[in-house]
């Protein structure tokens, strides 16, 4: 960075933030240069969000100084930040689904004629922005009709519609497919060309290495170091981030995979659901981890939901322990020994307003009630504590409200509730999404342990290394069709991607 100090657009010096007695960040340093992508890397809880909220004017620092374009920067609220030329795109979507794309992009800044909204100008302004960014949406579309990924892109366009010197993107790709992420990366390249500084937050290492110019690592609320992308490696960054060497991201198999002669516990033949997926067939044996890989929209989650009785298949058969079954509700699936850790833990996994204990015992509730339906609180508490201990869930007590725990610990609660049911077939849909590296490793170990204990695991993931690192075999999906089932030597990124994109021979 020496000799280039003059193009530093945003500088953070010794910034700290306390919430009462809790120190969220201390001695934070950051120099962001114009026309560069600067990634902030850290585990969940490392202080990234607090830092971004200070920059956005949501929080005010307890100490230290910030300067933007050479002038002191002390935003009292997000409007101040926007006026000073800093835009932030949060990962939570803040769009109104009942309005059109154009209305959302220009919300609160609609062009007016004599006080009335000028519809034509509104559409024209928004359209030129959308065209400029090459977004795959029409500005007259209603946001409620768009996919989650399209909404994320609209959100970004909205953030960029303000002429900004600094743009902060907080996990923008977490709900994007690869092709949509490409659109975002092009947008970022355009911003760089316009000499805008981009602060980028993501957990995806490949993406970070590809996009970033500079990478700042934070840990436990403290600044660790800033690296030039060309002078570092993924391994070094992960080690810096977690503060210890990760010998391996994926724990090795300790118990060998079951032999091919073992009878499958679950066998799917010709499973089809019109418009979602067709002719899916696979079998999974006790103790086996079967991966499911595909891009967004490939039908993976739809298959799992069908398997769990949440929707009806159009045709095909499901057999458990060799007996053909029909599964019409989640309750029936659970009775058959299926567990489902869903993709969205906050929406479908947890009751965030309730205690850790109540969440863990949720599925196995029948086991904790006597014949009259009265709950056996002692037994319930004991088993919930067992789950907390077994999965090393970090919680102050069983009474703690689930919503206050970190993402990784929340995910462990969801897994714990299925452990109490002794599910013999466990579906894990994106089990490490939004979970930091340390907790990821722990979840991988848990998955290995469950398989070693004889559970059949269906591991759905859009992270290719995860599928390769964890699965014994993997089903590859592309646009609702099963393009391959790979194992052994075929489990390479190149092979799998070629099947997943549908370009395989």
């Amino acid at each position: 960075m020496q000799g280039l100090a003059d193009d530093v657009i945003l500088e953070i010096r010794d910034v700290s933030k306390r919430f009462g007695p809790v120190v969220a960040i201390k001695n934070m340093q950051l120099k962001v240069r114009a026309g560069r992508v600067h990634t902030i890397l850290g585990e969940n809880g490392a202080g990234k969000s607090t830092l971004m909220k200070i920059l956005a004017g949501v929080h005010q620092p307890s100490g230290g100084t910030i300067s933007l374009a050479g002038r002191p920067y002390t935003p009292a609220n997000p409007q101040d930040a926007a006026r000073a030329g800093l835009t932030i795109v949060f990962q939570e979507l803040s769009l109104c689904s009942n309005l059109t794309v154009a209305e959302n992009i220009l919300a609160t800044r609609e062009p007016t004629t004599a006080g009335f909204i000028n519809e034509k100008a509104l559409v024209r302004t928004a359209a030129s922005l959308v065209e400029d960014l090459k977004l795959p949406v029409r500005v007259t579309d209603q946001v409620g009709d768009l996919s989650m990924a399209q909404r994320q892109l609209v959100e970004i366009a909205k953030g960029l519609s303000i002429e900004a010197k600094v743009v902060i993107l907080d996990e923008p790709t977490s709900s994007l497919s690869d092709s949509e992420a490409e659109i975002l990366f092009e947008i970022i390249a355009k911003l760089k060309a316009r000499n805008v500084a981009v602060i980028y937050i993501s957990h995806r290492m490949e993406e970070i290495m590809r996009l970033s110019d500079d990478i700042t690592v934070v840990r436990d609320g403290s600044y660790i170091t800033t690296k030039d992308k060309t002078e570092t490696t993924i391994d070094e960054l992960i080690a810096l981030m977690v503060g210890r060497d990760l010998d391996e991201i994926y724990p090795p198999r300790e118990v060998p995979a079951p032999p091919a002669s073992t009878k499958p516990v679950l066998e799917i033949k010709g499973l089809t659901r019109q418009g979602e997926f067709e002719d899916v067939h696979f079998a999974v044996r006790p103790g086996e981890i079967l991966g499911f890989f595909g891009l967004i929209g490939s039908g993976r989650s739809e298959i799992m939901n069908t398997l769990f009785g949440m929707r009806k298949p159009s045709s095909g058969t499901i057999a458990i322990d060799g007996r053909e079954v029909s599964i019409n509700s989640a309750a029936e699936a659970i009775d058959l020994g299926i567990g489902f850790v869903t993709e969205n833990r906050k929406e479908e996994g947890l009751v965030l307003s309730h205690s850790v204990e109540v969440n863990i015992s949720m599925v196995a509730l029948d086991d904790y009630a006597n014949r009259l339906g009265f709950l056996k609180r002692q037994a319930e508490r004991q088993d919930a504590q067992g789950g907390v201990d077994r999965l090393a869930i970090k919680t102050a007590s069983l009474e703690t409200v689930a919503g206050t725990l970190s993402g990784g610990n929340q995910q462990k609660i969801v897994i714990a509730k299925w452990l109490l049911t002794q599910a013999k077939i466990l579906i894990l849909d994106e089990p490490t999404r939004g979970v930091d590296v340390g907790a990821k490793f722990e979840i991988y170990k848990i998955i290995r342990q469950l398989a070693a204990d004889g559970a059949a695991i269906l591991l759905v993931s859009s992270e290719l290394p995860e599928v390769i690192g964890m699965s014994d075999r993997a089903v590859i999906m592309s646009e609702g069709r099963q393009t391959a089932t790979v194992s052994g030597d075929e489990m390479t990124p190149e092979k799998i991607m070629s099947y997943a994109t549908g370009f395989a021979q």
Partner: protein, 320 residues
């Protein structure tokens, strides 16, 4: 006291949870007793309990519905239907016990209709029960063309007028139903499922809870509770009135919300609801004693609800 709370976290939680509303109730009592010497007496206390009985029992049902994140605006109409069913049964010469059961059944059936329309036809319960509120109110008038129907059956009218073991029978009803609902909610699997489903419907669904069935059962409970309220009301009035229970749904909602039940679902208790009902009862009784005109009473009750909801919202924000 502090020591006791330290040793008993459940007690400490209860004190934290109800102290605000309980203090409000006591403050109200103190204010009324300084303004009217007749207020603070055993006789008047029993009087309040008796007046509050109809609302309290309906509010127990309403609490279940709100806990699930739904609403039932038809309970005032069900109260009237129940009275009319009883009056017609007696007119046909049916005995006390079968009449009692038929009246409960009428509440269960009307609740079933609310539940099925909400759960199986995917209609919002607010709209469903606005519609059935009108329909049920209309049904009341069918047998008599809108005229009230007398009930002279002595066993029936005894419920609202006689005492048992020194306490009005009505109060026994409230006590037993409070215990029933409280235990069902706080100690059983069924109650837990209601809390979970109200807290996050999707998560409950994915955990194998039969959400639709739960919804239907809850609306049936609400219907039955309203029918019991209707029994108490008709027995006290010696008749079934076509406008009986009019706007009682609002008092029942107010009692539940005053007691800390969250309209978003998943949070609330029967203890809170009965304290909430008592606050409404004390307000009505005290203001009546002070001869406060009816329209002022409406304004005061409305303000009390606003303050309660505001305090609740503020404490939730503080927690965040």
């Amino acid at each position: 006291m502090m020591k006791m709370m330290e040793n008993n976290p459940a007690l400490a939680r209860a004190v934290r949870q109800y102290s605000g509303i309980f203090i409000s109730l006591i403050v109200l009592c103190v204010i009324f007793s300084t303004m009217s010497p007749r207020f603070m007496s055993v006789a008047n206390f029993l009087n309040v309990l008796q007046q509050v009985a109809v609302i309290a029992i309906a509010a127990f049902g309403m609490t279940w519905v709100i806990l699930l994140g739904e609403i039932d605006l038809s309970i005032g109409s069900i109260i009237a239907v129940a009275g009319m069913v009883a009056a017609q049964c007696f007119a046909f010469g049916i005995g006390f016990a079968p009449t009692f059961l038929l009246t409960l059944a009428s509440g269960a059936i009307l609740g079933l209709a609310n539940g099925v329309l909400t759960a199986k036809f995917f209609l919002p319960s607010f709209i469903v029960t606005v519609a059935t509120m009108g329909i049920y109110r209309g049904l009341v008038s069918l047998p008599t063309n809108g005229a009230p129907a007398m009930i002279m059956e002595p066993t029936w009218t005894a419920i609202g007028t006689k005492s048992f073991l020194g306490l009005p029978i009505v109060i026994w009803f409230v006590a037993v139903l409070f215990l029933f609902n409280h235990i069902l909610l706080s100690k059983t699997k069924f109650g837990r499922r209601v809390y979970l489903t109200g807290g996050n419907r999707e998560a409950a669904l994915y955990s194998g809870i039969k959400v639709d069935r739960l919804k239907i059962i809850i609306f049936m409970i609400s219907g039955v509770m309203s029918a019991i309220s209707g029994i108490l009301l008709s027995s006290r009035l010696f008749s079934a009135q076509t406008n009986a229970g009019m706007s009682y749904e609002l008092d029942a909602i107010a009692a539940a919300v005053l007691g800390g039940t969250s309209l978003a679902g998943g949070v609330g208790t029967m203890i809170g609801t009965i304290i909430g009902a008592l606050i409404i009862g004390v307000l009505n009784n005290g203001m009546n004693m002070l001869s406060v005109p009816y329209f002022y009473q409406l304004i005061v009750k409305g303000l009390v609800i606003l303050v309660a909801v505001y305090l609740d919202a503020r404490s939730k924000r503080a927690k965040k």
